[in-house]
């Protein structure tokens, strides 16, 4: 059993999702190697070198990988693995991994196992389906397992080691059918919805977009990301990319605070893996109370300023 972990980074830092993927690999085998493709990635390598569990790091530093275009990455990784004895190839199920890993699986004629949340054995895994409303236990019959790992389900590995690094050259023609134009980083100072430790969301009960300011003060104090229910998005209170739920973002923070959200099925599907859920709603019959660890019945316009003050 030998695992290859594909490292996600931005040419400067290693993404936390990569360290979580290394931890997942450790549950499969002790023999774990990592590959990093990028341009000018010395600082990435210096961080990654400290990872526990890794036996070796392969580094491919080339202008082809200045931006993480899946066409170039998947071809290069495929070439690298040809003739190797890897039994498992793991990527984080971030947008990076989701974009790239299925291409690798198609090149290798393997049926990928997406977004695993638990490792049962070296060929059997659990993964959520129906946005986490059911859990499927699946066994892969492919000789090589290509897997994406849900990072929030595995603690990032510790960083107490010093791993050997080998630089490799790449022999690959640039794919001219696609070119990178730009990357606009979200301007928000707040953490990303999908990786935040605390998320506070508003629903239709917020009544309008202006009132989301009441949540902002709390989010600032808690260092929380901000989200919304589909109802709030559909009503035009906040932008679409705030939507938490089955057809929006799936979140699993330590604390999810739902304010003025009734708790429709499709919203619950997106938050049920949160460690703790708290809610504020004036309707004590609202379904959200059935899913909340702590529920507070009352008028959010009175309660939110009080909450902000207490934090």
């Amino acid at each position: 059993m030998k695992v290859l972990v594909i490292i996600e980074h931005d040419n400067e830092t290693v993404k936390q999702s990569s360290f979580s993927t290394i931890s997942a690999a450790k549950e499969i085998s002790d023999s774990i190697e990592a590959i990093v493709l990028g341009q000018g990635i010395d600082s990435v390598i210096n961080q990654l070198k400290k990872s526990d569990h890794l036996k070796k790091i392969y580094k491919i530093d080339n202008e082809l990988f200045q931006n993480p275009l899946a066409e170039n990455l998947s071809k290069a990784i495929h070439k690298f693995t040809e003739g190797s004895d890897y039994t498992h190839i793991l990527s984080p199920s971030s947008t990076f991994g989701k974009n790239m890993s299925p291409k690798l699986s198609a090149l290798m004629d393997v049926q990928q196992i997406s977004d695993i949340t638990k490792i049962i054995s070296d060929d059997t895994f659990e993964r959520p389906i129906y946005a986490g409303n059911a859990i499927a236990k699946v066994k892969s019959n492919d000789p090589i397992k290509i897997i994406t790992v849900r990072p929030t389900c595995f603690e990032p590995c510790a960083l107490n080691s010093s791993v050997d690094v080998e630089s490799l050259k790449v022999d690959l023609d640039k794919n001219n059918l696609i070119s990178f134009v730009s990357y606009d980083k979200s301007k928000s100072d707040r953490p990303e919805l999908t990786s935040a430790k605390i998320v506070i969301s508003g629903g239709r009960g917020m009544q309008n977009g202006e009132n989301f300011r009441l949540l902002e003060g709390i989010a600032d104090k808690l260092g929380a990301a901000m989200g919304a229910s589909r109802a709030a998005v559909d009503a035009g209170f906040v932008p679409n990319d705030w939507q938490v739920g089955q057809t929006g973002k799936i979140v699993a923070p330590d604390l999810y605070i739902a304010v003025g959200i009734s708790g429709a099925i499709q919203h619950i599907a997106g938050i049920k893996d949160s460690k703790f859920i708290a809610c504020i709603n004036k309707d004590e019959e609202a379904p959200i109370f059935n899913f909340s660890d702590y529920g507070l019945v009352g008028d959010l316009f009175e309660l939110l300023p009080k909450l902000e003050e207490k934090l």
């Binding site: 275009l69 899946a70 066409e71 947008t95 990076f96 989701k98 790239m100 890993s101 299925p102 291409k103 699986s105 393997v110 049926q111 990928q112 196992i113 997406s114 993964r127 389906i129 129906y130 946005a131 409303n133 059911a134 859990i135 499927a136 236990k137 699946v138 066994k139 892969s140 019959n141 059918l177 696609i178 070119s179 134009v181 730009s182 990357y183 606009d184 980083k185 979200s186 990303e192 999908t194 990786s195 605390i198 679409n240 990319d241 089955q246 057809t247 929006g248 604390l255 049920k272 708290a278 004590e284 109370f289 899913f291 660890d293 702590y294 529920g295 507070l296 309660l303 909450l307 934090l311």
Partner: protein
Amino acid sequence: MKALVCVKRVIDYNVKIRVKSDKSGVETDNVKMSMNPFDEIAVEEAVRLKEKNQIQEIVILSIGTDKSQETIRSGLAMGGDRGILVKTEKDQLEPLTVGKIIKSVSDKEKPDLIILGKQAIDDDCNQTGQIVATLLEFPQATFASELKKNNDNTLEVTREVDGGLETVKINIPCVVTTDLRLNEPRYASLPNIMKAKQKKIDVLEIGSFDIDIKDRLQVLEVKEPPERKPGIKVDDVDSLVEKLKNEAKVL
């Protein structure tokens, strides 16, 4: 330009799913089925491109049992021109198999744009578009939130990636998978629903494709997610903060 839009019939997103008591899967009998919401966005985008005269023909493809004809019909009612059903007896095929079938249909249909949802809300795999692009050696733009056709036979696509938006330029023919922000799908009007009944759907038997449809993954069981333990109601803001600090230890 010709578009091939791939659509999947899934349990409607508003339905609370039920796991079968024998843990073999999810109950689908007498459950409302609809087009995968992300695929609906793909149909809408193709129709909008057609309205701008950037696309001349929209072909709606689905792979599934006979009932998937309904799903194709709803795509035709939104503005698709004709449909193709690749008929199978199996309820679910794996993404790799689906990708191979779409490739085969595409080899014959020769679309300039293959557009489909980024994932289906049943198996949540998020693979098919990427697999199709790879097998056809077309460039891909996944998780699209904006799409613009340039005059030089390229598309400029903005992608929703973690932490921001990435824009790529891809040559036609290409594969695009849709994210939520791309558009808001229209409701089909009654006259268009009536008109869609006259539109042609070709039915192809899966056996006519030289593709091995055997599953590579074996579903050992499908179970309910762990129940959340029942929570409590707190009396006021003070006790909420106290609980979050001292009991949950999340503040």
